[in-house]
C-alpha cells in the first residue's frame, strides 16, 4: 500500500468522525451527514482499491481514473461556489431590508 492510500484512509476516517460528532450534537442534518459520509466512504473505497476509479473512467471515456475524480471534483466545487454566491447575495439583501426597516422605525419616533 502506498503512503497516500494510508494517509487518505486516515484522513477520511477523521473526517467521518468529525461529521458524526456534529451529527450527534444536532449541528448537522441527517441529509447532510448522509452526503458527507457517502463522500468519505467513497474516498476510503478509492484509497483501498484505486482500480475502482478506472472502471468509472472507462465507462465515461476518460483515460485515467484519477482524472475523472479531479474533473468531477472541479465541477462540484464550481457548483458549490455558485450556490454560496447566491446565498451570500440573498443574505445581503435581507440585511438591507432589516436596516431599512430600522431606518423607518427610527423616523417614526
Amino acid at each position: 500500500m502506498e503512503f497516500i492510500q494510508i494517509a487518505g484512509i486516515i484522513f477520511a476516517v477523521f473526517a467521518l468522525t468529525r461529521g458524526f460528532a456534529k451529527f450527534k450534537k444536532k449541528e448537522m442534518r441527517t441529509s447532510g451527514f448522509a452526503v458527507w459520509s457517502l463522500l468519505w466512504l467513497g474516498v476510503i473505497a478509492i484509497a483501498v482499491h484505486p482500480g475502482f476509479t478506472s472502471f468509472f473512467a472507462k465507462l465515461v471515456g476518460i483515460g485515467r481514473g484519477i482524472d475523472l475524480v479531479v474533473y468531477l471534483s472541479i465541477l462540484l466545487l464550481f457548483y458549490l461556489g455558485f450556490r454560496l454566491y447566491i446565498k451570500l447575495e440573498d443574505t445581503n439583501k435581507e440585511i438591507t431590508r432589516m436596516v431599512r426597516e430600522i431606518a423607518y422605525k427610527e423616523k417614526k419616533k
Binding site: Y85, I86, N92, K93, I95, T96, V99, R100, I102, A103, Y104, E106, K107
Partner: protein, 223 residues
C-alpha cells in the same frame, strides 16, 4: 409634490451646503438617507433642514436610494428627483429634468452630462461611461449617452415600479434594466456635472467599474 432624495455616505463637509442650496432654490421636501456614515452627515443634513433617515450600517448607494424613494412615496411624492450628495449636481437643472415627467411625456428623466458641450469629464471616466452606454444598448436595448448619472427624475408610477435590489454602485445599471424591463418611457436631459478635486477623489474607480460589469453579467445569467 416634488421630493429630492439624496443618499449620502460620509458627506459631512458637503451635505449641509447641498441641502441649503436646494431649499433656497425652492425645493423644501428633501430626504437625505445617511447610509451608515461615520461622520456628522446626519447632524449636518438635519441642521440644514432635510428629513434624514439613517441606515445603522453602510449598505451602499443603491440601498440608500431605495430607502429614500420608498419613504418619499409614503409621504405622497408625485415626482422624485435623485440627487448626489457631493455637490456634483446643480439645483438649476431640476426644472429641466422634471419637465418631461411633469408634462407626462416620460416616466423617467435621466440626466446626461454629454448632451451639453462637455469638457470637464476626466478622459478615463468618459471612456468607461461611453463603453457603459454601449453595453446598455446591447444588453437592455436602451439608448443613452450617459450610463452612470445619479441625477434622475421619476414619476410616481415609475418610482413604484422600479425596484433597486443591487445595494452597491451597480444600482445605476439596475435602474436602466428596470426601465427596459417594464418598458418605461425615458428621456435624457442635459445636466451639468461639476467636478471638484473632492468629488473626483470620491468618484468611481476603474476597478470598481469592471467589478460592476461582471456583476451585471452574472446577475443577467442568474435571472
Amino acid at each position: 409634490m416634488i421630493y429630492i432624495v439624496i443618499p449620502a455616505y460620509n458627506e459631512e463637509k458637503k451635505i449641509g451646503l447641498v441641502v441649503k442650496e436646494l431649499k433656497y432654490s425652492g425645493y423644501p421636501n428633501i430626504v437625505v438617507v445617511d447610509d451608515g456614515s461615520r461622520d456628522a452627515t446626519f447632524r449636518e443634513a438635519e441642521k440644514a433642514g432635510a428629513t434624514v433617515l439613517r441606515h445603522i450600517i453602510n449598505r451602499g448607494q443603491g440601498a440608500g436610494l431605495q430607502t429614500g424613494i420608498d419613504y418619499a412615496l409614503k409621504q405622497g411624492a408625485e415626482i422624485i428627483v435623485t440627487f448626489d450628495a457631493d455637490g456634483q449636481h446643480s439645483p438649476k437643472d431640476i426644472p429641466s429634468i422634471i419637465a418631461p415627467v411633469k408634462s407626462g411625456k416620460a416616466d423617467v428623466a435621466l440626466g446626461s452630462r454629454f448632451l451639453r458641450k462637455d469638457s470637464n469629464t476626466p478622459p478615463v471616466r468618459k471612456i468607461f461611461l461611453k463603453a457603459g452606454a454601449l453595453i446598455f444598448k446591447i444588453f437592455y436595448g436602451v439608448d443613452l449617452t450617459d450610463s452612470h448619472n445619479g441625477f434622475r427624475a421619476l414619476g410616481r408610477k415609475a418610482a413604484q415600479t422600479i425596484r433597486i435590489t443591487c445595494d452597491d454602485m451597480a444600482h445605476a445599471s439596475e435602474i436602466i434594466e428596470e426601465i427596459s424591463k417594464h418598458r418605461l418611457r425615458y428621456k435624457e436631459v442635459p445636466v451639468t456635472i461639476t467636478y471638484s478635486d473632492y468629488s473626483k477623489a470620491k468618484g468611481q474607480s476603474t476597478l470598481n467599474s469592471i467589478r460592476i460589469f461582471f456583476r451585471m453579467v452574472l446577475n443577467k445569467l442568474i435571472k
